[in-house]
């Protein structure tokens, strides 16, 4: 009985190992046929195309292995330390990077991208401008977007929002609240390119600001309590 189990185990392990090793070492070599002067077809086209893209070949991509292709292959081989046979065998093929057609090992992108960062923009808007008219909330979001594109500010949305000293609500922790629906909506509009400010990168509330420098900036628009400036 014990023996039977042992044999079964060994058989299973062998089968398992075979499945892993086989595709790695054997399958790949089966597919490759050598291409030479006179060969035709899709594979030749691919060789010509790659040689052309990399500057070794200037003839037509016609799928016919002629003298020009032959010379180009030789040049390529000479440059990359492969025996200059003028034929495309496994080594040349690998160096040219001719791919297997199917994308077997590739996993497509999963999940939902966060690149838009809607949520933190909404948090910043809610912290900074809740109580302002809707358009004033979109405007605060637009200032964040304008800063991302401006050479004087960080290049990412989180970079701009969390930049020390940039936004009061972020500095005093007010930002870490659940934003309401309006703020989320305003964040999406700002992200989609609606900019009520006409390109502002600063804003301030004149009733609260003591910073003198900010008054020197040209004001582009006044919305609610905020002055939007460049």
């Amino acid at each position: 009985m014990k023996k039977a189990v042992l044999i079964l185990m060994i058989a299973l392990i062998l089968a398992f190992a075979f499945n892993i090793v086989y595709p790695l070492y054997f399958r790949r070599s089966v597919e490759t046929a050598t291409l030479y002067w006179g060969s035709t077809g899709e594979e030749v086209r691919e060789v010509q195309r790659r040689l052309k893209n990399w500057g070794y070949y200037d003839g037509a991509v016609d799928g016919i292995y002629g003298p020009k292709t032959f010379q180009a292959v030789k040049n390529f081989q000479a440059k990359h330390g492969i025996p200059t046979t003028g034929t495309v065998g496994p080594q040349t093929r690998a160096a040219l990077g001719i791919p297997e057609k199917a994308a077997e090992g590739y996993t497509p992108t999963r999940g939902v991208s966060s690149r838009d960062n809607v949520y933190i923009i909404a948090q910043a808007i809610y912290g900074e401008a809740r109580g302002e008219p809707y358009i004033g909330q979109v405007a605060v979001g637009a200032v964040i977007m304008n800063r991302v594109n401006h050479p004087s500010f960080p290049n990412t949305i989180p970079g701009v929002i969390f930049q020390p000293g940039a936004f009061t609500a972020v500095m005093d922790g007010q930002m870490f609240m659940q934003p309401d629906e309006t703020a989320l909506k305003a964040a999406r509009d700002a992200l989609n390119g609606w900019d009520p400010t006409g390109g502002a990168i600063y804003y301030y509330n004149p009733a609260k600001t003591t910073n003198r420098w900010i008054y020197s900036r040209p004001v582009l628009k006044v919305i609610g309590k905020h002055y939007f400036a460049k």
């Binding site: 040219l96 994308a103 590739y106 050479p151 989180p158 020390p164 989609n192 390119g193 919305i223």
Partner: protein, 448 residues
């Protein structure tokens, strides 16, 4: 007796002083706490951005086929991995948990660097490189998903510093276990030879201050702007229109607030030159869906035609909050002009136009002399990687480059391993100008 009183007094004074000092310390502690928390959040969010960009770059690398584009992609992978690594190691999570993820990022960066150099030597990507890239891509994708999960829980629970340490630690520990068990060749780097000049990038201010090209017509006064608004909002029961401040940006505008009979507010800016609507936003909440996205596109197109925007073709649409946002580009002689862009928001309950944005169009649109393509579609198709499965015929498109040049390209749409890509081949030179990977965001669809 007096002495006792004096002692009590002194002690009381001391207590008050300690209280004041304690409160001050408490306040300072809070300030630092918030400051640190902000920094950690920034590191964390930027890390996700970098990892997602790495994933997208590696996916593009699978289907790119020209040395120029390879150079762009691999050097970007190198740069992104470097930044990601830096951010990762500033998170308040023990190095032990992070070390494998950190190692992975270093390897991706090194690999990108080595391919950049290989590329510069004129050596194509080899078959081994392909499989390495594939593996690195898959892990980058896995890491991105794990980070997205962590982000979701950070946002849901309004996670504090301590929790980020714990939850983050757990995720990174798991991510490390799943790291592909394989050593990628670490190449010697010439890190010392970093160029010291920092290139300011393509967004220099003088380029930003472009003169709008699409503003045609005479200057108008405010009264005329109100008339424009009424014409634009056909079908809306307007109670009154209020002037709310002028805009002094690149496009000088009149700002208007429109109050509807239903009590809604609609905001819009109208250019002082020519009286064009620059943007419009209706704040109305949309609660139900009664019309299809296809119908929404038709309505948006009709709306554009009514307002004098002919020959606009839809290029992309997105859906959120029961609203469709549709991008339109100008089309001339069957060439899609991507710079002349207008966005329209359609409410999916009754088909009303609730948003309009034409800044791109008004800044870029002018009459162009389009060049004739020197390559046929088939010739351009030869430049596309064989790995990419292109289904339909390409179309001609004019796309902007970083330096604001506009180039005529064939636009190919294709798939690879379940991901969608757009490849742009210069119709005059055959150069692979641009490759875009379509991101899956909330309900975004391409409508080519």
């Amino acid at each position: 007796m007096d002495r006792q009183r004096a002692v009590t007094f002194v002690l009381l004074l001391a207590l008050v002083a300690v209280g004041v000092w304690g409160y001050d310390q408490y306040r300072q502690k809070n300030d630092y706490h918030v400051f640190l928390q902000n920094q950690y959040h920034r590191m964390f969010y930027e890390l996700i951005d970098h990892v997602e960009t790495i994933e997208a770059d590696l996916a593009k690398a699978m289907v790119v086929d020209s040395p120029q584009q390879n150079l762009v992609l691999y050097s970007d992978v190198w740069r992104q991995a470097f930044s990601a690594q830096e951010k990762l190691n500033q998170l308040p999570i023990s190095h032990l948990t992070l070390s494998n993820t950190s190692k992975f990022l270093t390897q991706v960066g090194d690999y990108g660097y080595s391919l950049t150099r290989k590329n510069a030597d004129g050596t194509p990507v080899s078959a081994d490189d392909w499989s390495n890239l594939e593996e690195l891509h898959n892990y980058a994708g896995y890491l991105a998903v794990e980070l997205q999960k962590l982000r979701a829980s950070v946002q849901e629970k309004n996670i504090s510093l301590g929790d980020l340490t714990r939850e983050g630690g757990y995720i990174f520990a798991r991510a490390s276990d799943n790291l592909p068990n394989r050593e990628f060749t670490r190449i010697e780097q010439e890190m010392v030879d970093y160029p010291t000049l920092i290139y300011d990038g393509p967004f220099s201010e003088h380029i930003q201050d472009i003169k709008p090209k699409g503003l045609v017509g005479d200057n108008i006064d405010y009264q005329r702007a109100e008339q424009v608004a009424r014409g634009f909002l056909k079908g809306v029961d307007i109670q009154n229109i209020k002037k709310i401040g002028n805009g002094n940006g690149d496009i000088k505008t009149y700002g208007l607030e429109v109050l509807t009979e239903g009590g809604n507010r609609i905001y819009m800016d109208i250019s002082r030159k020519g009286g064009h609507v620059v943007w419009m936003l209706n704040q109305r909440d949309v609660d139900s869906v009664n019309i299809s996205p296809t119908r929404a596109v038709e309505l948006a197109k009709k709306f554009l035609e009514q307002n004098g925007y002919k020959n606009m073709v839809p290029t992309y649409s997105m859906r959120y909050d029961n609203i469709s946002v549709i991008n339109f580009a100008y089309s001339e002689k069957d060439v899609v002009i991507y710079t002349d862009l207008i966005k329209v928001k359609v409410a999916l309950d009754n088909g009303e136009i609730v948003g309009f944005e034409a800044e791109g169009y008004l800044k870029a649109h002018h009459s162009r002399k389009l060049p004739e393509p020197k390559l046929t579609a088939d010739q351009a198709g030869e430049r596309i990687s064989m790995r990419l499965e292109t289904g339909r015929e390409p179309r001609l498109a004019l796309i902007p480059l970083e330096n604001k040049d506009e180039v005529l390209c064939y636009e190919f749409r294709g798939t690879f391993g379940g991901d969608d890509f757009l490849v742009y081949i210069n119709a005059l030179t055959g150069k692979e100008e641009r490759i875009l990977k379509l991101l899956r965001s909330e309900n975004g669809t391409l409508t080519i």
